[in-house]
């Protein structure tokens, strides 16, 4: 049990409170609110005193203002898109009338992506990269955990590549993707593949290592049970190995997803691939008096999404874990 949880409990005993539910409610809801309020206060105080060449550092109210502007921009863009499709239909009809051999086609709106579309692009990219990495890392991790020899063979590679910054991979990935991924009608854009592969490269390691550790530290008794029952290799993995290493695997997955999300933003900034990172970089380049506030909106959004992804993994872990009583945080 960690410190944070012990503190309120001691507090509880000392005060001899009669309403533990109220106390629980307070600690669960009020304390985070207090934290946030203090943070907002400090933030607006600090913001007022930081003068950048783009004006004052944005405080909470400026950021709130800009988040509303971003919503508004999204709505106007939506309107524009609708008109674009209407115009396009008319143009197609006119052209078919003149040139019957023409096969009319509806093209996607050509306007710039809005903030919310960028969020969606980033989320989609990180999930694909993460899934690819997990599909590779979990089987490989199980192999490493089961076989000491496989582990000894792969370990040096893991240790070598694990500490490599994702951004060092990026130029290589970019060049390889443009060379290898050639098709006249690509299903995915190159920038998407580049980002997803970079994310995948960085998501591999925590899952791989944690899975290997989890698998190799399965309870001896369980292994003996498997031996006594003479389970074949596949049932051994399914009935014994996977259930007992689920917590470790999920620890790895959660770490991976967190890293993947951070890596993606950086990769988008550097490679100018569509997504939240690109949004941040574009705003930085714009250097308008609202740019900093807009970047701050993006920063907070990135944080909220990162948090949400982590919670999502936690929920999944609870669902898959056989030991429902284990404390997960």
């Amino acid at each position: 049990m960690s410190k944070q949880q012990t503190v309120p409990m001691i507090f509880n005993q000392v005060k001899q409170m009669n309403w533990p539910t109220l106390n629980q409610f307070l600690s669960a809801t009020a304390l985070p609110i207090v934290g946030i309020v203090i943070f907002l206060g400090l933030w607006s105080l600090m913001a007022k005193n930081i003068d950048t060449s783009l004006g004052k550092f944005p405080g909470p109210s400026a950021v709130w203002q800009q988040s509303k502007v971003l919503v508004e921009e999204h709505n106007t863009q939506q309107d524009k898109a609708e008109k674009f499709y209407v115009r396009q239909e008319q143009r197609n009809v006119a052209r078919v009338a003149k040139d019957p051999s023409y096969e009319p086609k509806i093209r996607a709106f050509t306007g710039a992506p809005t903030f919310f579309e960028q969020i969606w692009t980033s989320l989609y990219t990180v999930m694909v990269g993460f899934l690819v990495a997990s599909l590779l890392a979990i089987p490989l991790g199980i192999l490493c955990g089961l076989s000491k020899n496989a582990y000894t063979a792969i370990n040096p590679l893991i240790q070598l590549f694990k500490p490599v910054s994702p951004l060092a991979w990026l130029p290589l990935v970019t060049m390889v993707v443009s060379a290898v991924y050639v098709s006249s009608d690509p299903m995915f854009s190159k920038s998407f593949i580049t980002s997803a592969v970079t994310v995948a490269l960085c998501c591999l390691w925590p899952t791989l290592i944690n899975t290997a550790v989890g698998v190799s530290s399965i309870d001896k008794d369980l292994l003996n049970v498997s031996k006594v029952l003479r389970l074949n290799a596949l049932s051994h993995v399914i009935k014994i190995v996977l259930p007992s290493s689920i917590p470790a695997i999920f620890t790895g997955l959660r770490l991976s997803l967190g890293i993947g999300w951070m890596v993606l933003i950086a990769a988008e900034m550097l490679a100018q691939n569509p997504g939240l990172g690109k949004f941040v970089w574009d705003e930085f380049q714009n250097g308008s008096s609202e740019s900093l506030a807009r970047i701050m909106v993006a920063v907070l959004t990135i944080g909220v999404i990162g948090f949400a992804l982590d919670r999502l993994m936690l929920v999944l872990q609870r669902k898959f874990s056989w030991d429902k009583s284990a404390v997960l945080r």
Binding site: S53, R107, T110, G111, A112, E283, Q285, N286, S288, S291
Partner: protein, 467 residues
Amino acid sequence: MTNLKCLSALKVVVKSLRLGVMSAVVTGSLITSGVSAEELGYAEKEELKFGFIKLTDMAPLAIAYEKGYFEDEGLYVTLEAQANWKVLLDRVIDGQLDGAHMLAGQPLGATIGYGTKADIITAFSMDLNGNAITVSNDIWKEMKKHVPHEDGKPVHPISADSLKPVVADFKSKGKPFKMGMVFPVSTHNYELRYWLAAGGIHPGYYAPHKGDTSGQINADALLSVTPPPQMPSTMEAGTINGYCVGEPWNQQAVFKGIGVPVVTDYEIWKNNPEKVFGVSKTWAEKNPNTHIRVVKAMIRAAMWLDENNNANRPEAVKILAKSQYVGADYEVIANSMTGTFEYEKGDKRDVPDFNVFFRYNATYPFYSDAIWYLTQMRRWGQISEPKADSWYTEIAKQVYRPDIYAQAAKALIAEGKAKAVDFPKFATETGYKPAQTHFIDNIVYDGSEPNAYLEKFAIGLKQDSKI
């Protein structure tokens, strides 16, 4: 019957474009013999992606998009900001972009193989002028002592003579004097070099044959590359002492209070050609109608930008201030786009021709403009071998394609969207501007004699010199 004739004439034109054998001039005159709007076929490629750098001179692209001129041509264009000029060029070469807002030197540099070798052509010049040189506040404080004043205000144009003592001072203290420009073959590099050299400050030579592409051999001022939008912050961080860049990044320095623009490129060379719209040659050969239609849309955009004595500029500024285009504040962009330029804070002067998009035949791709860039590449050693006058002409004709421009302009005239008087007389236009006299050092430039022109400079390589 006449229709058939016209069609066959068009076929010949298209063929000659494809083969690239017929000289541009011949093609141009063929077109005069009777191509009208009806014959211009539909676009071969309707979904296009164009790249740009966040600078106000990308305006023709933004306007052509926002005003629906691209759609009028049946083109569905996506505009995408690029990180820097190198990325932009590479993406045009490898086909990720169909075309892009480019530095005039980029298609030329790519064609002669300075940097990435690739055949890039241009049929549309995007603007005249639009750049300035800015120095940091500290440098300006020192420089100002040597600038002649009248009524308490500095007399413009300010020459680099007043910067010379500052650079000498840096040198004597053993400190490097550094300035930023946006790309080795950028207008800004040549303009900055021109200005420095005219004031007796050596900007350094390139020696690509020795593997030296830093451009700092014998340099008094060390020039290096910084992407335009990062110029102000790089200077603010003290990495560079000044820079030459397009708008709004000079006015941004004034607004941020971090530097002072000292000279505009209008003062260095009046009505100098600046950006072009570049596409790869293979793309142009595959999509001739598309190319003409793109140029048509952009000519209309340029006309709109200069219409009624810049009446539409405030609206244009509003569009450019959107975050997907230039994205700087309205006031910053408006400063230069609406015919004024703020030097020192508060010292706002009228420069009505600071950004020219259409008048003075700004959009026509003149061979002599291409040749001027080639002379500067030779002057600073980017072209390391001596070249004959005929070589300059040949390269200019490979890269600059007034024939395509003429087809677009004629189609517009036929549709009643433009008037013939607004364009050069296509039948007689040679592509060479008359000798130009408006340079800051009063040296006259005649595009037909590039080597003789090189002889006129005190600093710089001459026809036969080698490093």
